[in-house]
Amino acid sequence: MRKLLIGLSLGATLLLTACGQTEEADSLKSGDSSQNPARAGDPPRPAPRIGRGARYRLPASKSLVDSGRAVGSLHCTRAARERFGVHLEIFANRLDVVIPAGIGVSPPRIRDGAYVRSGKCSYQLRTVEPTGLIEVDDGTKATLGDFFDLWEQPLSSGRLLSFRARRDERVSAFVNGSRWKGDVRRIPLERHAAIVVEIAGYFPPTRSYVFPEGL
């Protein structure tokens, strides 16, 4: 009897969770449809605050990309290829760090407001808008470490950009909402991955991101 009750309790819990996930999956799949508005009773979520100052608003690149030289296995070409999207979000002290447009795009860059429209050449990984959206050339096997190398910014278990982990802390990372337990630099940049990297504090990570058409 006890086993039956426990089984029923677990079953009900799993069913409830599955229902929630199905609802979310459906809402994501429905894309442009206005037939599926968010639930009226949803509690308001905390909005991530964008950090203030130069540590939260970094430039796109320095010398390597500016010169168009190879960075590890990544090289700068003018060839147009199919691309897919990966979303990266960085938090330091629970504040959002803006990932600039133009990483992996060699100057002179043609800008249009917040966007970079083109450059002399571009690498297999690049950002053309400041939203954390990384465009990856189809067939590229790259990691988050490669992206930070291209950006020329530090990333390790104890360092994220200009932020250093305290003695009892580490840089934490999440991929599609699940904690990444290995080396943060080795997170693969796979199609439609939603990656969150954090230091000095915790902000609930995203589990999914709706990508623009064509990515």
Binding site: G20, S34, P44, R45, P46, P205
Partner: protein, 229 residues
């Protein structure tokens, strides 16, 4: 104490309860970061336009112009047009909620609180336009208010949202005592990736081709008919 905890954990009911709580909290669809592309873009420019379909050039230029006019008249404003869930990125739960999204975006940008916001030196208004409605968020008032009396179109019509935003910016500025000339809203769009232009290309081109082929066939048929008779 530790023994009590160990005993409790070994108890099947406790384990089931803890597992249930872990599943419900750790894997809840609401346990996530809220990331949307508009917040990053609006730090650097005054309007966020939908990814797809794109707003046509005439309308985006008019929107830029009316925002500049409002700013010059002492009514600085940021505008976000959201045509589909894709424009919300990781904040899709706010689809269909203009007030909720306006407040959320305003908080992200840091334009709320008493007086001047953290990321901007001047008081800002934030206008968001979704197919379901438009909403205004203001510094100093940590709440969003719906904008009524604006023609809104169906989801995915980015040009319709742009037209609504142009009208709304001018009206809001004027109502707030910063009058600007009524903008001439372009009725049609001849360039850019606007919805109407794309539709014309998708449906118009095959139709035109069919008409040409039909006319050619009819002409040929008539010629054959004349030759035979």
């Amino acid at each position: 104490m530790r023994r009590d905890l160990g005993a409790a954990l070994r108890h099947p009911k406790t384990t089931a309860l803890l597992l249930s709580v872990a599943i419900l909290t750790g894997f809840s669809p609401d346990a996530r970061t809220d990331v949307d592309p508009a917040s990053d873009v609006l730090l650097l420019q005054d309007a966020f336009l939908p990814y797809s379909p794109k707003v046509c050039t005439q309308l985006s230029d008019t929107l830029d112009r009316v925002i500049k006019q409002a700013k010059a008249a002492g009514f600085p404003m940021k505008v976000a047009l959201i045509a589909s869930k894709r424009d919300l990125g990781g904040a899709v739960f706010l689809w269909g909620k203009p007030n909720g999204y306006a407040k959320f975006l305003g908080q992200e940008l840091g334009i709320y609180g008493k007086g001047v916001g953290k990321n901007f030196k001047t008081n800002l208004r934030l206008l968001v336009v979704l197919p379901q409605g438009a909403s205004l968020y203001r510094s100093g008032v940590d709440a969003a208010q719906p904008i009524k009396g604006i023609d809104l179109t169906s989801a995915g019509d980015s040009n319709g949202l742009a037209r609504a935003a142009i009208t709304a910016v001018a009206r809001l500025a004027t109502e707030a005592g910063h009058p600007i000339p009524a903008p001439k809203v372009p009725a049609g769009c001849s360039s850019g990736g606007g919805g109407s232009g794309s539709l014309l290309l998708i449906f118009g081109a095959p139709l035109a081709l069919l008409i040409i082929v039909g006319a050619f066939a009819a002409l040929r048929w008539r010629r054959l008919d004349t030759t035979e008779s």
